[in-house]
Amino acid sequence: MTITVLAFGITRDICGQRRFTLDLPEKTSSDALLAILQEKYPPLRQLSSLLVAVNESYAEPGHVLADGDEVALIPPVSGG
């Protein structure tokens, strides 16, 4: 299956791109995706926190991804 990854804030700098696609095995979970990305981009491990949103909602670690999902990397937010 193919998912789209959006990288915001410092994760965009780390990944070097704002938006990219990944081909993943069926039923990959959101935390498995994070592990794949942290392997590929080690500086992601140094963040204060790193959450994942799937289709514009925060996802639990065990959330199972589906083909076509939009997954956003959410480093520590700092609005306001």
Binding site: A72, I74, G79
Partner: protein
């Protein structure tokens, strides 16, 4: 109750936000305005760059507004947040809340800004003379 929740890439108008929540049955209005400080820990700030995950940020702001309206007897509620490049002195966020009595207005306004800062996917980069940093990214 209607919420007025916006992300804007143009200057925020705190006066319009405030007038919007003033209603004939309201007695207490609390307005929070977050502005760009000209320095952080003694370092001069040249500008801030705000980035938002727009669709999700609006959804999260809407959720916070609904949660506030469920907890306190509010009359009206405005949350406007900037995106883009802001210079020192410019307004990053305006939250305006009205209620019959001040306690609900104060408590809800404080809840809204505190929760916004914790959950809404907006990020800011501080740009200094000699470098830049994504706020709160690292421990």
């Amino acid at each position: 109750m209607q919420f007025d929740i916006q992300l804007k890439d143009t200057p925020l108008d705190f006066e319009a936000c405030t007038r919007r929540v003033m209603q004939p049955d309201s007695g207490g209005i609390d307005v929070f305005i977050g502005t760009v400080r000209n320095a952080t820990r003694g370092r001069a700030v040249l500008r801030l760059e705000f980035e938002a995950y727009e669709g999700m940020a609006l959804r999260e702001m809407q959720k916070i507004a609904e949660s506030a309206a469920a907890q306190w007897p509010l009359h009206a509620l405005v949350v406007h947040h900037r995106t883009g490049v802001l210079l020192p002195g410019e307004i990053a966020v305006v939250i305006a809340v009205s209620a019959a009595h001040r306690d609900a207005a104060f408590t809800a306004c404080r809840y809204l800004i505190d929760t916004l800062k914790q959950t809404v996917p907006i990020w800011k980069k501080e740009v200094f003379e000699d470098g830049e940093v994504w706020v709160a990214a690292h421990p």
